[in-house]
């Protein structure tokens, strides 16, 4: 659920086909900068009722999914 939501948000914000986004996709390849990440973090906070500030180590879709799943208890 977290993975699907994150991929859906990324596909929409970067105008990319969701099928092209995998867990290995790097944010830098999608043209996502740290402010984009912050914007996405705020949307994720609303979607999953969590408190989340992304760290610089979160560089791929998989790492983001993992971090959010830890907070939602889905991991």
């Amino acid at each position: 659920m977290v993975k699907d939501k994150i991929i859906e948000m990324l596909a929409e914000s970067t105008d990319t086909d969701a099928a092209e986004i995998t867990l290995d996709t790097k944010f830098s390849d999608l043209g996502i900068d740290s402010l984009d990440m912050t914007e996405m973090a705020m949307d994720l906070e609303d979607a999953f009722d969590i408190e989340f500030t992304p760290s610089p180590e979160i560089t791929t879709v998989g790492k983001l999914v993992e971090a959010v799943e830890k907070l939602t208890g889905e991991a």
Partner: protein, 318 residues
Amino acid sequence: MSFRILGTGMYVPPKAVTNDDLAQIVETNDEWITKRVGVKERRISENEWTSEMGAKAAQAALADAGVKVEELDMILAASVSGETVSPSMATMIQHRIGATCPAMEINAACAAFLYLLETAAAFFALHKDYQKILVVGCERMSGILDWTDRSTCVIFGDGSGAAVLERGEGYLDSVLTVKGGDDVIKIPHFPGTSPFFDREQDSPYIHMKGQETFKYAVSAISSDITALLERNHLTIDDIAWIVPHQANVRIIDFASKRLGIDPAKMFVNIEKYGNTSSASVPIALHELKESGQLHRGDKIILCAFGGGLSNMACLIEY
């Protein structure tokens, strides 16, 4: 509640520093600054003190309002970058424009111009004989920037903005919030040379955590505007303009998106001046008025946020 805005004025120093100029000073470029902050150029003071710029905006606002200096009952000013802590910028401006009324300064960082309006409303309520109050935000941010820190020195600019308020009924509602703490935004003072004090202090420049500031600012704008609309049984369609603190165009755009507001309703001029802290809202308000897009009777919302963490929004019938 207690006043209406009679006139506005602004002053920015003539020296424009472009993003390409900054790229000669720190490792940055026009594309990065434009995309991440929305600033194309900023005005930088060349040998003009903060209170001199404040006095020029004050005189412009007085002229716009058709009010003589002698008519002022109070001067309220704000600055985080004054040339002196004491005398305050308010008293320096009072002296420079030749006024004789009381004057005092309020510190609420980038939100301060709105806190001046709130304080003015309180003075109008307390002193029934007060008819006119001058409010001024004035900043020489270039003096408190670390010009080797590319994450902050590209954001800010110098300038001043002012408004003359007249007793009236245009100040309809306000919401004030202070979260507290110095971990997200701070401008430390020089700690002094006391032989009895040896605690460490960060450098006396702006320190700001970008992501945390962004989150705080977007949340502040969203919650303050929502609260004002709900409390006053208004929808966004009742509001002619929102004049936000010009901190970062990304903050303004993302707050608009979360609020479901057409971004065109947010007045933005950050591309010309950068973030001028307490001067940004009055400069934006003045430019909005001068553009001919603000009309008497329009309901507008001003909103601002900054160090403290202090935020505020107010609903005004112009």
